[in-house]
């Protein structure tokens, strides 16, 4: 590599414009050659000094960040030492409007759903009962026509009820679209103006849809919801309590009483009861290596009401998150901060709601010898008291005693938390691990509630970050949707869950 190339690489890095490939190349150079390393350090140090001397104007930005930290700290509770926790309980705030007017959408969607379902029903009654569906059946299926069993070989007709036996079966369309019915599932099939329509009475189906004409999308309806398909693979299930959708590939438009949502790959959604919407997220920001400002913008884009962050590097960095979120949303947010002894392992909660109480707790040692911490905030949502908590458990696979101790202390501390509880964090444990099983003695994995399965999208190499809901609050805190957010701003994906909070 020429000296010019090395200089350009360094300049791009200092300017923040070097891509991952370039950064790897520069790292290799400074690690392999002592003289280049010294040159890199000289350049970085001179850059930091020159920028400090010439670039920072009147210091208003720094002053604002310091003011935010002081405001937070002044109103803090103590944890280990007074300086290790920022626990902000601010003056009253006006919640900014949500990304879309859910209540109006909910009403509109309910009406739309009624119209669609009524349309399907009327069509079934009004159309010729002998309308043939261009689909064939296979496997263990019974076809019921006007209450009478007919041979599947006769082909499907509109309003036929298809009931899957113990081995399940499939309905295949001429364009390659296939609907697999789990054992015991019951569905009816229809075609309206070239659009495939399926009505799932109960059970679970897996849909693998070929690309559908945009003017005639495939629609799958249940009593509570409907999914509109252009071309994708997904699971849809329905029982007495809810309809669940888990998307494997592509995008499905899901409409229910809460509104219409486009559900994409790696996400699950569940039809809700009526209630106040609450969006929570948990994200291991891994020291903020994407930069606090960029990460703050990613957080804002998610639109969560309660935000849990783990592996936050320092108080200064957390101040950057909050100040940027407040600047963009033009509203006050509330911070609860819990620091581990060593840098980079802290966690915090940023809340749209003013907490009625907050706390932070030492949850025992980590495998590095320092201590881990948990934070919690109790808020009121739609008149319900909810305690939202987060922690980052020990990561070491070799030192699982620390993780067990961290978890026991975290759960024990949450035992006396007021109201319904939402437990979030970096648990470093897979869904079938002893740690998650221990949590599930008193909490439900929100993803599992929504999707019906412990298997789901990885937050980092597997599902190791979670949102749990206290089982005792199952009726008042209902998870509706759960998904991960792809990002290159951390080595973890953010996990987001929408809850419906039932009225008191």
């Amino acid at each position: 590599m020429s000296a010019y190339s090395f200089e350009l690489l360094i300049q791009a890095w200092l300017d923040g414009t070097l891509d991952d490939e370039g950064e790897s190349a520069l790292l290799r150079l400074v690690r392999s050659d002592g003289a280049l390393r010294e040159e890199f350090l000289t350049q970085a140090r001179a850059n930091a000094q020159l920028a400090s001397l010439l670039a920072f104007g009147d210091g208003a930005v720094s002053a604002k960040r310091v003011a935010l930290l002081i405001r937070s700290r002044t109103e803090s509770r103590s944890f280990r030492t007074s300086r290790s926790v920022i626990d902000r309980i601010d003056r009253g705030m006006t919640a900014p409007s949500r990304p879309f007017p859910l209540r109006r959408l909910a009403l509109a969607a309910t009406l739309l759903l009624l119209v669609v379902v009524a349309g399907l029903t009327l069509h079934g009654q009004g159309a010729e009962a002998k309308d043939r569906i261009a689909a064939s059946t296979s496997g263990d299926l019974r076809v019921m026509r006007a209450g009478v069993a007919v041979q599947p070989e006769e082909g499907l007709r509109a309003s036929d009820q298809v009931v899957a036996g113990s081995a399940g079966g499939s309905v295949s369309y001429a364009d390659g679209t296939r609907v697999d019915l789990d054992a015991g599932s019951e569905a009816s099939f229809d075609t309206v103006a070239a659009a495939k329509q399926v009505r799932l009475a109960h059970g679970r189906i897996h849909v693998s849809a070929a690309k559908q004409p945009p003017t005639a999308p495939m629609v799958i309806a249940t009593d509570r919801a409907q999914a509109t398909v252009v071309g994708t693979r997904f699971w849809l299930s329905s029982d007495a309590e809810r309809t669940r959708l888990v998307v494997e590939d592509g995008v499905v438009r899901f409409s229910d009483a809460s509104g219409t949502h486009d559900i994409s790959h790696g996400a699950a959604v569940s039809s809700p009861p009526a209630g106040t919407p609450l969006r929570v997220m948990t994200w291991n920001v891994n020291g903020g290596y994407g930069g606090a400002d960029l990460q703050a913008h990613a957080i804002i884009a998610i639109g969560a009401d309660l935000i849990a962050l783990q592996q936050v590097r320092s108080t200064a960095v957390i101040a950057d998150y909050v100040s940027e979120i407040e600047r963009v949303t033009e509203s006050t947010w509330h911070l609860v901060y819990a620091a581990e002894e060593s840098a980079g392992q802290a966690c915090c909660i940023i809340s749209r709601f003013a907490p009625t109480s907050t706390g932070a707790r030492d949850i025992g040692k980590s495998s590095l010898g320092s201590h881990r911490a948990a934070a919690r905030a109790t808020v009121s949502v739609g008149g319900r008291t909810i305690t939202f908590a987060t922690a980052y458990l020990d990561w070491s696979e070799k030192e699982t005693d620390s993780r067990t101790e961290n978890l026991a202390n975290y759960l024990g501390w949450m035992d006396d938390a007021p109201g319904a509880r939402i437990l979030t964090g970096g648990f470093r444990s897979y869904h079938d691990s002893p740690w998650v099983r221990r949590i599930e003695t008193a909490y439900d994995d929100a993803w599992k509630v929504v999707s019906g399965s412990g298997l789901g999208p990885a937050t980092k190499g597997g599902r190791i970050d979670y949102v749990f809901r206290s089982t005792a609050a199952a009726a008042e805190l209902v998870p509706l949707r759960s998904w991960t957010v792809e990002t290159d701003l951390s080595d973890h994906r953010a996990l987001v869950t929408d809850f419906s909070v039932s009225p008191p």
Binding site: D15, L69, L368
Partner: protein
């Protein structure tokens, strides 16, 4: 006590009585001096900003212990020095378990330096070294850092290629550091 120190102490007295606006004024007035002090030991802007903020937060917490005798800035620098020392220890622990990166290279150098060394004059040396630069070099540095002019614009303004500008900035930074590191202050 000089006039500036006296003025600062008057604002400190108000801040000691709980006036946050007064403390805000102190941050605005003194952050540049403290930033330069921290910059003489740090290798990254992120670290400088972090220490700067932590210094002022600690100062607010301990404001009651400051005795107004015209020494508020040295008092602040003492806090900054302690925070730097704590940060060196914290980063040494953190880096042992983090993935390799260019930031880690900087942290290692930061951790390896002598926490007790005194570099109070480094900022003054830096300014003198800038004054010694050729006018064209100083202009380039001031445009790049002071006005945020990027490589492409500098290339247009100085009628050179991007690569030549990158190389020139590289040489200027090296010259400035060599000047600062010189055993004797530049004349």
């Amino acid at each position: 006590m000089d006039a500036d120190a006296e003025r600062i102490d008057r604002i400190v007295t108000r801040a000691q009585q709980g006036d946050r606006e007064a403390f805000h004024d102190l941050v605005v007035a003194l952050q540049h001096e403290v930033r330069l002090f921290v910059a003489s030991r740090a290798y990254s802007l992120e670290l400088i900003e972090e220490i700067l903020q932590a210094t002022f937060v600690t100062a607010w917490e301990r404001l009651g212990t400051y005795d107004a005798r015209g020494s508020f800035l040295p008092w602040l620098k003492g806090i900054a020095k302690n925070r730097l020392r704590e940060e060196i220890r914290a980063r040494a622990r953190f880096d042992a378990h983090s993935n390799d990166s260019l930031e880690r290279v900087l942290d290692e150098a930061f951790v390896a330096q002598d926490a007790e060394r005194s570099d109070d004059d480094d900022a003054r040396r830096l300014m003198r070294c800038l004054e010694r630069l050729a006018p064209r070099s100083r202009e380039m540095i001031e445009r790049h850092y002071g006005k945020g002019t990027g490589l492409n614009q500098l290339a247009q303004q100085f009628k050179q290629t991007r690569q030549a500008i990158a190389s020139a900035l590289h040489r200027i930074r090296r010259t400035v550091r060599a000047c600062c590191d010189a055993a004797e202050e530049p004349a």
